[in-house]
Amino acid sequence: MTDPAATARPMVEARAVSKRFGSNEVLKGISLTVDRGQVMCVIGPSGSGKSTFLRCINHLEVVDAGRLYVDGDLIGYRERGDKLYELKPTEAARQRRDIGMVFQHFNLFPHLTALENVVEAPIRVKGVTRREALERGRELLARVGLGSHANHYPAQLSGGQQQRVAIARALAMEPKLMLFDEPTSALDPELVGEVLDVMRELASTGMTMVVVTHEMGFAREVGDTLVFMDGGVVVEAGDPREVLANPQHQRTQAFLSKVL
């Protein structure tokens, strides 16, 4: 509203992002954009580089070549003239705190209760007062349907509940972008729905989301774009309904015929 240029700017812009682990080239020039308020779902066989790409977006992995921008900020580096300067750890941490991340294995802090998990970062990183953080934390837990579980430890929660706490924990930092790394892959089938419901609700509020997933139903229903990755490249991208119903590329067809 205030700055028309800012609203027009894509939330995520990847330009020829490449990443290798030793001699293994995991990402071979990924270029794509995610607009504000959009939900992008990324699918592909394991080893296709989709999780690595997601981890590059918040600098958990360091990009080897290409550029990655989140909300116009170059991730991990400062560009001055034609030189790149590595960011200090504190600066990298500042970039990360605006990007929420949800992991496949939840990674909740087991020694803290659900509520403590949610308020830890706002208090320590953002300097929010304890009282304010607790109030907001309770609201967020209620939002993911766990208002009555605030004082439970992660070990006392089911996988689906833990993942919902993890989503609340990420939201507590009021991120402008949410990354989901196979959020339902470690869950028992009957628990997948409750997590997807929370994500669906989040998408409806206009949160920008990048979701690496195997849930084709979710991708079709909630996703604004669907990206199919294989062998470190984007093979096909477009409207999820289009791509799922009528895949153009042979590799997409082969992959979808196995999972659908």
Partner: protein, 309 residues
């Protein structure tokens, strides 16, 4: 019909273990013989044991031994924690400093280290101000002679820190890497991640072997004789026996006191291990097994390197 649903409980004749009983009887006979024999032997000097066991000098020395143990352990734990965190630091300089420290203090016997610390005032008796090997502006003599108790604590705790560092490091490494990543993704700094997330979880693995270290330290304090500090339990017992020519009874007196302390510590250790070997902290029931961080990596094994450092 009902028989099939509720079959009769099995009532089998128990397997007998005749050899166990036989060996136990033989052992009991041997122990009784040993005790009867020991009671009559003059060399043990039981009347002196009775006389000195509660001697004021001995009980005071026992207190000194406890002080040595507690002080050295507390300093050793704090320093060990710092060293372990340093070793895992992303900063290569900090890492190298910690490595060199461990290399020296774990690579030399604690007895030798204590002799060195005892001689420290001979080695460093002055501070030279100037450009090394070129010019000296001033030489300041160090007049302060630190008390031997102080030197003993320094020697024991600096050595202990090196061992504690390894225990703490094993604990820190036992925490799932995903924890660090989750903290990082929330924008937490490295030091926040360590103090708030990793170290609290590592405690489960660190605390049981630390109990072992306390027991070990209690016995290692006897080596302060190398400093030479002699007001500890063993030193005092030897001093008294040198006067009274009753070395064996006083060795028994000292042993009884050490055994008394270690027994108390071992009971404490038992409860500590029970407490920290539960599936999760606070002993909460596990509903979803998948979610729990990798089980403790055989905690108590890391410690016990006994008294032969």
């Amino acid at each position: 019909m009902t028989d099939e649903q509720h079959p009769e409980a099995i009532r089998a004749i128990r397997l007998r273990h005749p050899w166990r009983i036989a060996v136990a009887v033989i052992l009991i006979i041997l122990v009784v013989l040993f005790v009867l024999d020991a009671a009559q032997r003059k060399a043990f000097g039981w009347q002196y044991v009775g006389k000195y066991i509660f001697d004021k000098r001995i009980s005071e020395a026992a207190l000194v031994t406890l002080e040595l143990t507690v002080l050295s352990m507390v300093i050793g734990i704090v320093l060990g924690l710092i060293l372990a965190v340093m070793r895992l630091s992303p900063n290569p300089v900090v890492k190298a400093v910690a490595w060199v420290y461990l290399w020296i203090f774990r690579g030399t016997p604690v007895y030798v280290q204590l002799v060195f610390w005892g001689l420290i005032t001979l080695i460093y008796n002055s501070i030279i101000i100037g450009i090394p090997f070129v010019h000296t502006w001033d030489t300041i003599a160090i007049d302060w002679v630190p008390p031997l108790f102080f030197i003993s604590v320094v020697g024991l705790s600096l050595n202990e820190a090196a061992y504690m560092a390894e225990i703490v490091r094993a604990g820190l490494l036992s925490v799932d890497h995903g924890q660090e990543e989750a903290a990082k993704a929330l924008g937490m700094s490295w030091s926040q991640t360590m103090t708030r997330i990793v170290i609290p979880q590592a405690m489960r693995v660190i605390i049981p072997p630390t109990g072992n270290e306390v027991i070990s330290m209690l016995k290692t304090t006897t080596l302060v004789a190398a400093v030479p500090f002699t007001l500890d339990l063993f030193g005092r017992a030897r001093d008294i026996s040198a006067e009274t020519f009753t070395p064996i009874p006083l060795l028994i007196v000292a042993s009884i006191w050490y055994l008394f302390f270690t027994s108390i510590l071992m009971v404490g250790q038992y409860f500590l291990e029970k407490r920290f070997q539960r599936g999760t902290r606070r002993g909460t029931p596990i509903i979803d097994g998948d979610s729990v961080a990798p089980a403790a990596v055989g905690g108590p094994v890391i410690g016990g390197q006994g008294g032969t450092r």
